[in-house]
C-alpha cells in the first residue's frame, strides 16, 4: 500500500498558439488560450495510478492555481485519483517557481503520510522543470528527475530508470521520494465513463461559494458539508489554511521578475530570391563557392 501525491498544473495550451493570441505589444493574451492539463503531469498521474493498481493505496492529486484549475482536478478524479486538493488564494498570484514550491511543499506537509510524489518533468507554459526539485528540496527528500520507468518497488525501496544525455541510468532510492516523469514514461489512461458520471459534479470551495452567491437559501458551510458527505468536495486550501508566511507567497515571495516581454520579431526582408532554375541555382552555387562555403 502506497500513498502517492501527484502535482498537476493547468496550463495555457502553448502548443496551439494562433495569431490573435499574440497581442500587438508582444504579450500573450492568456484569456484567448484554452487551458489544458499539463501533458507530463497527466503521465505522472498515470504512473501513480499504476502503483496503486499494483500495490494498492491511494492517489491524491493536488494543484496550485486559480479557482478554474479545479477543471484539471476533476479530470484527475475521472482518471482514477481518490482525492483532489485545490490550493488557491489570490495572494498566490504571480508566484515564480520558488514561491510555488514553498506553497506546494507546505500543502504536502499538511496532507502528509506520502510515499511517492509524482510530477511531470516540466510544464509547457514555462518549461522550467524547477518546481519539482524545489518542492523536493523543501521536503528534504531525494528526487529522481527525468524518470522513464519504475523497474521495481520493494518495501520502502524503489528502483527506477531515468534519462541522461545519450543514455540512461538506473537508480535506487528509499521512500519517500519525489519523481518527475518524462512524456514517454507511460500512456495516460482515458477517463472512466463511470467516474465521469460520479465526479462531474465535484466542486471546490470557490465553486461552492459561487453557487451560494445570489441565492439566500444556500449556505456555504451547509453546501460544503453536503458535498463532503457525497464525496464530491474538492478539498480547498488557502494561505490561511496552510498558515503560510505571506512574504514567501506570490509576487512577494518570488525573487525573479519579468522585466520585459517581446514577441519574436523577424529581422528579415534582406534576403535575395533565387529562381529555382539551372541558371538561378548556378549563380547561387557560384556565390557560395566564391565565399568558400561550398566546394
Amino acid at each position: 500500500m502506497y500513498h502517492s501525491i501527484v502535482l498537476v498544473k493547468q496550463v495555457p495550451d502553448t502548443a496551439n498558439i494562433t495569431g490573435n493570441v499574440m497581442q500587438e505589444d508582444g504579450t500573450v493574451n492568456r484569456a484567448k488560450l484554452p487551458a489544458v492539463f499539463n501533458p507530463e503531469d497527466r503521465v505522472a498521474l498515470e504512473m501513480a495510478l499504476q502503483v496503486k493498481d499494483q500495490f494498492g493505496g491511494t492517489v491524491t492529486a493536488i494543484t496550485m492555481g486559480p479557482p478554474r484549475a479545479s477543471d484539471v482536478l476533476r479530470e484527475c478524479l475521472y482518471m482514477g485519483a481518490d482525492q483532489a486538493v485545490l490550493i488557491s488564494d489570490r495572494k498566490f498570484a504571480g508566484a515564480d517557481t520558488l514561491a510555488t514550491s514553498y506553497v506546494l511543499a507546505e500543502a504536502i506537509k499538511r496532507i502528509g503520510g506520502y510515499d511517492f510524489i509524482f510530477g511531470g518533468r516540466q510544464a509547457i507554459d514555462g518549461d522550467t522543470a524547477q518546481v519539482g526539485p524545489q518542492t523536493c528540496e523543501k521536503l528534504q527528500i531525494p528526487q529522481i528527475t527525468y524518470l522513464e520507468e519504475i523497474l521495481s518497488i520493494d518495501g520502502r525501496t524503489v528502483t527506477a530508470r531515468r534519462k541522461i544525455e545519450g543514455g540512461y541510468e538506473v537508480v535506487r532510492s528509499p521512500m519517500p521520494v519525489l519523481v518527475t516523469v518524462i512524456k514517454d514514461a507511460a500512456e495516460p489512461r482515458p477517463f472512466s465513463a463511470r467516474r465521469v458520471m460520479a465526479y462531474k459534479g465535484a466542486k471546490s470551495l470557490m465553486e461552492i461559494e459561487k453557487m451560494a452567491e445570489g441565492n439566500s437559501l444556500l449556505y456555504v458551510d451547509q453546501l460544503v458539508h453536503e458535498y463532503e458527505s457525497r464525496e464530491l468536495f474538492i478539498k480547498t486550501l488557502t494561505m490561511d489554511d496552510l498558515k503560510l508566511e505571506p512574504e514567501r507567497c506570490g509576487v512577494a515571495g518570488s525573487p525573479t521578475k519579468v522585466f520585459k516581454v517581446e514577441s519574436v520579431v523577424l529581422s528579415g526582408g534582406e534576403h535575395e530570391m533565387i529562381e529555382p532554375t539551372k541558371t538561378g541555382l548556378g549563380r547561387l552555387i557560384d556565390k557560395l563557392m566564391d565565399d568558400h562555403i561550398l566546394g
Partner: protein, 339 residues
C-alpha cells in the same frame, strides 16, 4: 540591497571526467559578465581526479577554481552535489551562478536555488549585464536573463532585482566557446568533502551512455528538412543534398515527430543549437522554436513552396519551389560545377 560580491560562478559539469561543452561556453560568457561587473570568474568543479579538468577551466577564463575532489562525488548525484553547492553559495554569496540547461544542470540548479532562496531562470539563451529601472527603483548591474517563453512565442527578460544571488541555467550551444589566447593558471581552492548521511540515499545501480555519433554542432554544412516535405520518402532528398554537399542532415521538431529523421538530429529550442557556415532549410516553415536553434548560422538558404513562410525572414537566400523539383536540380548543377 546588500550586494556582497561581484563574482560569477560557473558549475562545471562532467560525466566520467568528461566535461560538458556548455560549461566552457558558460566560462567564456561568465568572463564577460564578470568583467562588466568588476568581479572575478570562478569555476566550481566537483568529482574525482579533477586535475586536468581544473586546468581546462583556466584555459577558458576562470580566475579561480573551487575544487571538491572525492570518490563519493565520482558520479553526479543530486543530494551531495546540491548540498555542497548550496553550502558554498551560502558562505560566499556569489552575485551570479550559471549552470548548463542539461539534465544535470536542471536537476541541480533548482535544488540549490531553493536551499539558498535564490532566483533562478531556466533555459536562458542570452545573458547581459545592465543597469535597470524597475518599479521606480534603480538597480546597478543586474543580470538580464533572456529566454524564450510560452512555447517560444515570446522572448522574456527576467531579472532578480532584490536578491543577492542571481542564478540561471543556459542552453547548450547558444554561447560561443573559445579558449583564451594566453591563459593564466588561476588559483585553486580545495574544499574538503565532509560526508553527510543523506548523500548516500540514492545509489546509482548502472549507467549507460552512448557517445552521440551525430555531431551537428561541429558540422560546417547542415541540410535540414521539415514537415513540409510531406513524407519520409521525400525526406530522402535532404539526405541526398547533404551527401552531395558533404554536410550533415538535420530536421525540425515536426519532422522528428513525424518520424522523418531521428531525434538526435533535431535542431531548435528542444534540440541542438547550431551555427554552421551554411544552413539549408527545406520545407521548414520557420517557427520560432526552430529559428532559435539555427538563426546564428553564417549563411541560410530557405527552400519552401510558401513564399510567405517565416523562414525567408531570416534567410540570406530564398528559393520558392517544391523540394522534389529544386533539390535534384541543385545537386545536378553543383556536381557539374565540380567537374
Amino acid at each position: 540591497m546588500s550586494t556582497t560580491s561581484s563574482d560569477v560562478w560557473v558549475f562545471i559539469e562532467q560525466r566520467d571526467g568528461k566535461p560538458a561543452d556548455v560549461s566552457f561556453e558558460l566560462l567564456c560568457k561568465g568572463r564577460k559578465l564578470a568583467q562588466s561587473m568588476g568581479g572575478s570568474l570562478k569555476s566550481v568543479v566537483m568529482g574525482e581526479h579533477l586535475e586536468g579538468l581544473v586546468g581546462e577551466t583556466f584555459r577558458f577564463g576562470a580566475d579561480e577554481a573551487m575544487v571538491i575532489d572525492h570518490p563519493a562525488l565520482r558520479q553526479y548525484r543530486t543530494m551531495p552535489y546540491g548540498r555542497i553547492l548550496s553550502d558554498l553559495v551560502r558562505t560566499h554569496v556569489p552575485r551570479i551562478v550559471l549552470f548548463g540547461a542539461t539534465i544535470i544542470g536542471r536537476d541541480l540548479a533548482p535544488r540549490v536555488a531553493s536551499a539558498t532562496r535564490s532566483g533562478l531562470t531556466a533555459d536562458c539563451t542570452d545573458l547581459q549585464i545592465s543597469d535597470v529601472a524597475y518599479l521606480r527603483k534603480d538597480y546597478k548591474k543586474l543580470l538580464l536573463q533572456i529566454r524564450p517563453a510560452f512555447g517560444g512565442n515570446i522572448i522574456a527578460t527576467i531579472i532578480t532585482p532584490d536578491n543577492p544571488v542571481q542564478m540561471a541555467t543556459v542552453r547548450e550551444g547558444v554561447m560561443e566557446m573559445h579558449a583564451m589566447g594566453n591563459p593564466v593558471a588561476g588559483k585553486v581552492t580545495t574544499i574538503p568533502y565532509v560526508p553527510d548521511p543523506a548523500d548516500e540515499l540514492i545509489q546509482i545501480v548502472e549507467q549507460h551512455q552512448e557517445e552521440n555519433k551525430v555531431n551537428l554542432k561541429a558540422a560546417p554544412i547542415i541540410v535540414a528538412g521539415g514537415y513540409g516535405l510531406g513524407s519520409k520518402g521525400n525526406f530522402k532528398l535532404v539526405y541526398d543534398l547533404a551527401h552531395a554537399l558533404g554536410g550533415e542532415v538535420a530536421g525540425s521538431r515536426a519532422a522528428v515527430d513525424a518520424g522523418f529523421v531521428p531525434p538526435e538530429r533535431q535542431v531548435g529550442q528542444t534540440g541542438v543549437t547550431v551555427r554552421p557556415k551554411l544552413y539549408i532549410a527545406v520545407g521548414i516553415s520557420g517557427a520560432i522554436q526552430h529559428r532559435a536553434g539555427m538563426q546564428e548560422s553564417n549563411k541560410i538558404i530557405a527552400i519552401n513552396t510558401d513564399p510567405g513562410a517565416p523562414i525567408f525572414g531570416i534567410s540570406h537566400y530564398g528559393i520558392v519551389g517544391d523540394a522534389t523539383d529544386v533539390i535534384p536540380r541543385f545537386i545536378e548543377v553543383f556536381r557539374n560545377k565540380l567537374k
